[in-house]
């Protein structure tokens, strides 16, 4: 689930731009997609420039880094793992490739992104036309991915797999810049216009003189497999993915959850930040007022995907400080976005009870996570997934709640507004026929 950004200048004076700082702020907006590794890549008169660092974007790069980095084409990358580096291909075409998701090369291939980069470079050199070559690669390579490659010939090529698993959106700035990003909110942060999304199976090429698009023959809607996890959990709520507002999906999830799994309570509380939209939707549909229940300390940390248990627990302590008066003496619907191991939730429920909460009905704004993601989203191994081991009643007991319920898979699809067949639901244990 890395975050990708590419920014490209057009027209007169295009080489006057310095885009490293644009990329930097774009990456800040995409930080939630990967917090272990960050890279800024530019292309200028002297060729490629590359800065790749571990950690958070605003710690990884300094003012001096940005001031010293020339280049009028920019590309940036954040990854959730220290091992997921941008791929540098030397020959037959010199280029740098970044990707989100996982190209399907079978089990024999260790590093599927390197394999993808090498295949792309080979095809470009064989076919001659990089757009045609990229489309062929997308047609051949199954899996769930989006990618961006910057070649030495100043071509920025971006594309999505034929199922549209991973997002890619397009934006512009004035008469000068075009951009391709994982999420539209990065465009907003850069003051750019969000224009469209790249279609599943489509590749787009920016070169100094044109933008060209080519698409693998349109697949029927049933062949789509858009990642539902993006809408529920991964993406920022201010993003729009494939024309669907993430915030509106999350609000609808809350509303559907209130219908599917009602509870009697005095107040609805969402766990910041991702579950707030669910709680507002739940409140609206149920008529139970919503309240702010927690204040967070420190930067946003994604607890479910933090590597070690120690870091995870630290994450919880910092993340959630209860607001006493919001819960003291009250029956509460507590909404979270997902449950992986149950650790975070148990701590939270315990904290709330100590602050005077009476009954706590836990509702989860997503179905139970049952299986690993084949496209690279880091989900703990199956034996660490509580929903695989326990039913809802048992989970309630473990976390100390009075009741516990997940969103149904049907409810999720309705909230997104797509058919079951158009979504990837593998992590919820739902395979396609």
């Amino acid at each position: 689930m890395p975050g990708l950004i590419g920014i490209y200048p057009f027209g007169l004076g295009r080489e006057n731009w310095r885009l490293a700082r644009f990329v930097y702020y774009g990456l800040l907006a995409l930080q939630h997609r990967g917090q272990e590794l960050a890279a800024i890549i530019t292309y200028g008169d002297e060729g490629f420039h590359k800065l790749s660092r571990e950690g958070f974007v605003d710690e990884a790069f300094t003012e001096n880094d940005l001031n010293a980095m020339p280049g009028f084409i920019g590309m940036g990358y954040v990854a959730p793992s220290k091992d997921q580096h941008p791929v540098f291909v030397e020959s037959p075409v010199r280029m740098i490739l970044i990707g989100d998701g996982k190209p399907g090369f079978g089990n024999g291939v260790q590093d599927s992104w390197r394999a993808f980069g090498e295949l792309l470079a080979d095809e470009i050199s064989r076919v001659g036309d990089s757009l045609k070559a990229a489309r062929q690669v997308v047609e051949e390579v199954d899996g769930g991915y989006s990618f961006m490659a910057l070649t030495e010939d100043q071509e920025l090529i971006a594309g999505r797999d034929i199922h549209g698993v991973k997002p890619l959106e397009i934006g512009s700035l004035g008469f000068d810049l075009g951009a391709v990003v994982s999420e539209s909110s990065a465009l907003d942060v850069l003051g750019m216009e969000h224009i469209a999304h790249i279609e599943p199976g489509e590749v787009v090429r920016f070169d100094p003189y044109s933008i060209e698009r080519s698409r693998v023959k349109p697949h029927s809607r049933l062949n789509m497999s858009k990642c539902s996890f993006e809408y529920v959990y991964l993406a920022r709520p201010d993003s729009i993915i494939d024309g669907i507002s993430v915030y509106s999906v999350r609000e609808r999830i809350g509303m559907i959850l209130a219908k599917e799994r009602p509870a009697e309570a005095d107040v609805v509380i969402g766990i910041p930040e991702t579950a707030i939209p669910f709680s507002l939707g739940y409140s609206r549909a149920s008529g139970i007022p919503a309240s702010l229940g927690f204040v967070t300390t420190g930067r946003k940390v994604r607890t479910a995907i933090k590597p070690s248990i120690f870091e995870r627990l630290m994450g919880v302590q910092l993340k959630l400080n209860p607001i006493r008066c919001a819960m003291d003496g009250k029956d509460i619907v507590l909404i979270d976005d997902s449950v992986v191991r149950g650790t975070t939730l148990r701590n939270t429920v315990w904290n709330m009870k100590r602050r005077g909460a009476r009954r706590i009905h836990v509702r989860i704004g997503s179905p139970a996570i049952m299986a690993p993601c084949p496209y690279g989203i880091e989900i703990p191994p199956p034996d660490e997934l509580i929903a695989r081991a326990l039913d809802e009643r048992e989970i309630a007991e473990v976390v100390g709640a009075d009741s516990f319920a997940f969103l149904s898979i049907d409810g999720l699809c309705r909230a997104i507004g797509l058919e079951k067949g158009e979504l990837c639901l593998k992590c919820w244990g739902c395979e396609k026929r």
Partner: protein, 517 residues
């Protein structure tokens, strides 16, 4: 009857075609700098003559008109207007459809156009500042950016019409990107000064205008000195590339709805736009004491601050917008021309067919900003297939040489037009046509066009933006604050940026003067 045309692009090809359709059975005579293959064919078919000459040379063009003994002359592009070709042709007693030199100031000087608009209190205005040098601009922007906050979000333009080149829009809202953007802005202004030094007919070099947002549309009109008659609205698409990305061009394609309006512009907005254009014509006629005969167009935008707003004016038809309306025109164009010459346009019923049209330009890679790359490629067109697939082809920036080969000249090489029930249908027709490789460069150099022009998605987006803007400007109107700008600066107080314009309006008169030269 003998009719002579001036100019060699797709708009002129469409003009020649409209003239050829006339019941007056005209013989067509033409002059342009390159030999347009499409116009050349029409000239041959009607047994006229074709000359290659500098079309900004009034004496040359007028002499040809005299020599051929034509009954009227029609000007296609703007530069002949700016250079007084109309004045010279008329001086020799030959009627001319085109704006005289001093009248064409509306287009030639974007700064003077704006000054006239403000001085006459005409609606749809924008704040602006003009500079005669890069250094002057830098100094002034630095001095005033505290006081006039609109200067942070601006369009930078050459102060003179310069073939749609050099416009940049810089929104400097994100403090953290300010350094990058102001650096780029400065470099661009320096470039503008250099670029404008090639034009000696205007003192203003750089125009800085308030940045506005909203859907754009072009209102083209016939004018006879008394009456201004509006044509169906057209939307042109200025960005070079797909998704509305990339540099400003002369226009990569345009579409009309069925009838007078675009799907996202109301009747009332049309009327208001027309009244703005009429008022501008009145004003420039009063300023010059001359009569405007020919085409005029308002490049409009629906904006939050003013409602229908005048962005720029043309002293001619748009290109490609002219191709749309000429293809829709049902009335005999020579009847219209005669009515313009006799100033009795109000008595003519001008009809346009009730059908949607789309025009798409095809250009060699390199257009618009690296034209040397786009020039001198051999081009081949399969006109039979174009026709079979229900489209029309207009030759643009191309030259038919003595040996019958056609070479690109660096701009849009052809424009394709299709009709449809909806713009989307027409757009699709052109896409099918271009997919059949109807236009090719024989040396393998790339061509590009925009697949998205006229698409449902594009119109849906424009409609969405129009509705957003309409909500805002109609609210301002109800509150009585349409066109009002106000700002507050600590320790200084309330600022009315309009009052700060007085320097532009009064002390600079003559800056791009229509009296000089």
């Amino acid at each position: 009857m003998k009719v002579m045309g001036v100019g060699g692009g797709s708009r002129e090809h469409a003009l020649a075609e409209a003239i050829a359709r006339s019941n007056h059975e005209p013989k067509i005579f033409w002059v342009s700098e390159d030999r347009n293959p499409g116009i050349y064919r029409l000239v041959k078919r009607t047994r006229g003559e074709y000359a290659l000459a500098r079309i900004t040379d009034p004496l040359k063009v007028a002499s040809l008109a005299e020599q051929w003994g034509v009954d009227m002359v029609v000007i296609g592009p703007e530069e002949p207007n700016f250079h007084g070709v109309v004045d010279e042709v008329e001086r020799r007693g030959i009627p001319c459809i085109g704006a005289r030199r001093r009248l064409s100031i509306l287009e030639m000087s974007k700064a003077e156009m704006r000054r006239i608009q403000w001085r006459y209190g005409i609606g749809g205005k924008l704040l602006f500042k003009t500079y005669r040098s890069y250094m002057e601009a830098i100094r002034d922007l630095e001095k005033h950016s505290e006081l006039l906050s609109w200067l942070q979000n601006v369009a930078l333009k050459p102060a003179r019409q310069a073939g749609g080149k050099g416009v940049k829009v810089i929104e400097d809202v994100q403090v953290y990107l300010h350094g990058e953007k102001s650096r780029f802005k400065q470099r661009h202004m320096r470039w503008l000064e250099d670029y404008m030094s090639g034009y000696t007919d205007i003192e203003d070099k750089i125009l800085v205008e308030e940045r506005v947002w909203g859907p754009e549309y072009t209102l083209q009109c016939f004018v006879d000195g008394r009456t201004v008659i509006g044509m169906p609205l057209v939307q042109d698409n200025k960005h070079a590339h797909e998704y509305d990305i990339g540099p400003e061009t002369g226009g990569m394609g345009s579409y009309t709805g069925k009838g007078l309006l675009l799907p996202f512009i109301t009747r009332e907005e049309y009327e208001r736009s027309l009244s703005i254009v009429k008022s501008m014509i009145d004003a420039v006629q009063r300023e010059t004491d001359e009569r405007y005969h020919g085409f005029v167009a308002g490049q409009m935008m629906l904006t939050e601050i003013e409602g229908p707003t005048l962005i720029e004016m043309y002293s001619r038809l748009g290109d490609p917008e002219g191709v749309n309306v000429l293809a829709m025109l049902e009335t005999d164009i020579i009847d219209i021309f005669e009515a313009i010459i006799d100033e009795r346009l109000s008595a003519v019923k001008i009809r346009f067919s009730e059908v949607a049209t789309v025009v798409k330009a095809v250009a060699p890679k390199g257009y618009p900003d690296f034209r040397d790359l786009a020039r001198d490629h051999l081009v081949e067109v399969n006109e039979a297939l174009v026709e079979k697939l229900g489209c029309r082809l207009y030759w643009g920036s191309a030259h038919l040489d003595e040996s019958g080969r056609v070479l690109t000249r660096g701009s849009r090489v052809v424009e394709l037009l299709a009709f449809g029930e909806t713009p989307h249908e027409a757009s699709q027709r052109i896409e099918d046509c271009l997919a059949g490789d109807v236009v090719r460069l024989l040396d393998g150099w790339g061509l590009f066009h925009r697949s998205d022009i006229g698409s449902e998605e594009m119109i849906r987006k424009r409609t969405e933006i129009a509705e957003r803007v309409r909500r805002l400007y109609t609210y301002r109107e109800r509150m009585g604050i349409l066109g009002k700008r106000v700002d507050w600066i600590p320790r200084i107080g309330k600022i009315d940026p309009v009052k700060e314009l007085s320097h532009e309006l009064f002390s600079r008169v003559g800056g791009g003067s229509y009296e000089s030269g």
